[in-house]
Homo-oligomer: 393 residues x 2
């Protein structure tokens, strides 16, 4: 069968706040081949990914992503890789293309899973999806007192692990940051797993990051995430050498497999964090998961949007050891929560598991989605290249 439609839908909260919360909008992808439909999601900037789906060709290696997808045969798993390679070659010079491809790749896996009535992880060759220990992923409070309250509330809800990130962390002094980390540890309790996310705040500044290590060690943080931008491999490697028990985490900025491998090979990270909605989809994410396992680096999903995106980002390492941690956003905006009928929620033991339903196991709630849908229209030279299509199942 051939891919007959690839449609993008821009969903957004009515108001988008200037905070580090990625659940405020999303780009829903609907892919149709024969009688089957698959769903996916792209990170980040819905409008720009829509533009790269439909833009006019600039030259042979700068084509719109749609041109490498529409009309292609999609019968088996090998087709997904083939189509991904086509996009990477034909849109080589189109910088946004990997984000755009991500949602399409995810939707192709979902579609084949529905067709073969099999969960995606089984299509990936994993017999049994191991349960994961979710860490509650939240923003730091504006003050240590707020962070303390957040951490206590997280623990009360049954989460053993939590990640605090962004907000004021790294923007003030070393002492302020230490107070934030100590508050998070206090609220989470001595036996909790504490993770800290600096959100690239120090750029390439090794000394600024190193100055935070004593407080992180004192609070027994398991990791320091993204002290630097993704490409700062030298700074990562140098910090990893002195970080002791606090390991480095990073990689969410990877928009291809090579970048993730470089974080492992040259950056010395202990945890590699991959967003299937950015790296080009489940396919390259799976290859990174395998590589990380082989190199003794722990693979962790990066997810800050809907449970469709969460399911997609958990599939690539479904077979990794049971109870290894996974990112689980707990402050989702209503859009990201309401967009799917099913949800992945912790069981009585505080663990989460992938759905056993076909594909990604997520059904978009189209009535809910329509409440957040933004109509987009793009015209070039008087020709309408994109107009939001009707949202149907």
């Amino acid at each position: 069968m051939r891919i007959e439609a690839v449609d993008f839908y821009y969903l957004s909260m009515p108001e988008v706040l200037d905070i580090g919360d990625g659940s405020q909008d999303l780009l829903l992808v609907r892919l149709q081949a024969g009688p089957y439909v698959g769903w996916g999601e792209c990170e980040a900037s819905p409008l720009v990914s829509i533009a790269s789906l439909v833009c006019p060709m600039s030259h042979s290696a700068c084509k719109p992503v749609r041109d490498s997808v529409l009309g292609q045969t999609l019968d088996e798993i090998a087709d997904i890789d083939r189509i991904g390679d086509l996009v990477r070659a034909n849109s080589l010079d189109l910088l946004q293309a990997p984000h755009t491809l991500s949602g399409i790749d995810i939707a192709m896996w979902d579609l084949l899973g529905r067709r073969f009535e099999t969960p995606v992880y089984q299509l990936l060759g994993v017999e049994r999806a191991e349960p994961r220990l979710p860490y509650a992923s939240v923003l730091f409070g504006d003050t240590p007192a707020e962070t303390l309250a957040k951490a206590r509330s997280i623990r009360e809800k049954g989460y053993v692990a939590a990640k605090f990130g962004w907000g004021p962390y790294g923007l003030g002094g070393v002492a302020e940051d230490a107070a934030q980390v100590a508050a998070a540890r206090e609220g989470l309790g001595d036996d909790g797993i504490l993770l800290i996310d600096a959100g690239t705040v120090w750029g390439h500044d090794l000394a600024a990051a190193a100055a935070r290590l004593p407080a992180l060690r004192a609070s027994r943080a398991t990791w320091l995430e993204e002290p630097f931008v993704t490409g700062a491999l030298d700074a990562y490697a140098a910090l990893a050498e002195q970080s002791g028990g606090v390991r480095l985490a990073g990689g969410e900025g990877s928009h291809n497999e090579d970048m993730a491998r470089h974080m492992i090979d040259h950056g010395g990270v202990g945890f590699i964090q991959i967003d299937a909605g950015r790296i080009g989809g489940i396919s390259p994410a799976r290859r990174v998961a395998d590589y990380a396992m082989q190199r003794g680096v722990a693979y962790v999903n990066h997810t800050f949007t809907s449970h469709l995106a969460l399911s997609a980002s958990l599939q690539p390492y479904a077979g990794h050891p049971a109870r290894s941690i996974c990112e689980y956003p707990v402050e989702l905006k209503s859009l990201a929560w309401e967009m799917t009928r099913e949800h992945i929620t912790p069981d009585a033991n505080g663990l989460i598991s992938l759905p056993e339903a076909p594909g990604l196991g997520m059904t978009p709630d189209l009535e809910a989605a329509k409440r957040y849908l933004l109509d987009v229209e793009i015209a070039v030279g008087g020709n309408v290249l994109y107009r939001t299509p009707e949202l149907v199942g």
Copy 2:
């Protein structure tokens, strides 16, 4: 003074062909601050860069590029770096942003050059722009006979150096590629400088690239460019170890300084090729040029569009040794040639020099540009976010 306007204009040939010719469209940037105007150009995919200029904010690290530029103070060189850092932080998760920033950075340099009545290279601290030996950059012919004729014609026009790339190279067998390279050498003459560009055709496939080395050595090619995609550092390093007299060139895909450094530090390239229209502008390109010099790697511009882009891409290494080579496209489409009133052309000795006029020394020919202008309109949720503004000087 403050930046009051940043306007993007999508110019295109009436017909864009499915060939590796990047001169078929371009994105012209006009920046205004106080009474001054500066001009720049972004690679690649004009529509997608326009979308990333104006897209709605997704979260605090995924803002439209315009938000970090409009209203900013632009009085001195340090402001250019400051604004670049703002864009990199505020649009961290917006993948297309570096291409968008590139044209803005170039326009800021042009504007300050015009304001201070100084060529950009002098603002960069270079006393005297050294002349460059241009290599005629062309596509391979469809057959060795066509390539032979192209090479002879190039030599007859006075070029001592030429680069052949894309077209059929790497798509057929080793023997066909050898015939193409031999034809290029024959047409160029024994004393010509021959450069070969594989246009990433082998992806990560070390063996496929290595199989071409004997023919490249036999024809005394100075470099093999882009045997692999930009991120394939291991393959680059492994090929560099066995390439002997044929050195590797690459880096045009770098969309930040880190990527270019990785090509030097981990990829073993002998030539690092940077497009100021992709890497974030003249500012990061200059830092890469300095780093390459320090590491004994030759810096070369990557340019396949207008002479405005050519001037911008030559500035970062204006002070490097005289007569070092530079890319010089000689098959420009009419759009790319007509867009500027001035042109950079070889002198009696076959060398080219940067303009001594203020800024980039290039005046856009607005009447010509208007003939190629495509009106763009982007609306989200019923609000028009972008409509091509009037093109004025």
